[in-house]
Symmetry: C2
Subunit: 207 residues, 2 copies
């Protein structure tokens, strides 16, 4: 299982600093939507993240204008871009095709998506699907249960990621469960005084 | 009825130039999502749009982290910010409350939203609701019919905007219909060689 670490709500300089410090120490480094909307893709294209071994995910959260946003997004050094599962099938098809064409990855964010919408989605076999609990939701979220239930209902989805308040104990349980490919952790790593040390604890927990 | 003109997929300098040229000549000037994602809110905060009489809408398309994005968004000179109707009720409530607190407007983008989701939405009486046809959708869209049907089913919604390939003839029909408060036009104004002249033709059509 892979660890994806999300960087959010910091200056662009600090984001670059955190990303470099985590390079090679975690599997995927995510620049969160707050970084995209605060600084823009043009700045991310100019910024040199110097990632040698970790993959870079930019959480674009595309919901329309798929072709424009994914072409722009892949002009940065991103290996993975995100699209909302709640966008139109046209947007999903466009973004999937662009990711396939440039041999990079697409991450479909399933936040707030209905079963109807998910069942009407076109087949996107190589996509990563992300179970994602809204940060603004007041409802509770149990990652292990959510993964199990989702997997039972959508066993054809082979690449599964999960995000939403995951701590070390939950990370261990998700790794033991053996279904999810990626766990996403944000503030519990990047919000600590020593993100590298916090990340290493998560990496050990999911081994 | 008001005319909202969307500026998209141009440099920030060109966006400022178009916005200034349309100031006072149209009701609402929109900086589209492409401007936000390409240049970022920090740049939009620094940019001086010099709008004296038109309102400024920034198409943030918030879908999570409502409090963070709306607080950041209203640090710019925006009068109106957008949130996706497909976001969680937590996000909708947070963004609505912030707009109310700062006495500014919230625009809820109904793109790809199911009736179920719309019916489960909390009451947001002062919000502008936007009927919005995905740019990436291959299905056809008749604005007049869509407005009529929506109004029949959701007559409690008093502030209605509509976007999606609207031309001069459709603009006239929507004005005659008398339901929508705002029509949104993009490329058919800003993509012409003389946006001011194109905007004036739309303004005359909806008088």
């Amino acid at each position: 299982m892979k660890l994806q670490v999300a960087i959010d709500r910091v200056s662009l300089d600090r984001a670059i600093e955190i990303a470099r410090s985590l390079d090679g120490k975690v599997d995927i480094i995510e620049l969160g939507t707050s970084i995209v909307k605060d600084y823009g893709l043009e700045a991310l294209k100019q910024a040199d993240f110097h990632l040698d071994s970790s993959e870079l995910l930019i959480d674009l959260k595309t919901i329309d204008e798929g072709e424009y946003e994914f072409n722009k997004g892949f002009e940065t050094s991103a290996d993975i871009l995100t699209v909302m599962g709640s966008s139109s099938n046209g947007t999903l098809k466009q973004t999937y095709q662009i990711a396939q064409d440039v041999k990079k990855d697409i991450f479909i964010d399933l936040m707030e998506i209905s079963d109807d919408k998910l069942n009407q989605m076109p087949a996107l076999p190589n996509a990563i699907f992300g179970l994602h609990h809204s940060k603004d939701s007041v409802e509770s979220f149990d990652a292990v249960d959510t993964i199990k239930q989702f997997h039972n209902e959508h066993s054809q989805i082979s690449r599964l990621a999960v995000a939403g308040g995951i701590d070390i104990e939950q990370a261990k349980k998700i790794a033991e469960q053996g279904i999810a490919d990626i766990i996403i952790v944000g503030g519990k790593i990047t919000g600590t005084s020593d993100p590298v040390s916090a990340a290493q604890k998560f990496m050990e927990a999911i081994k």
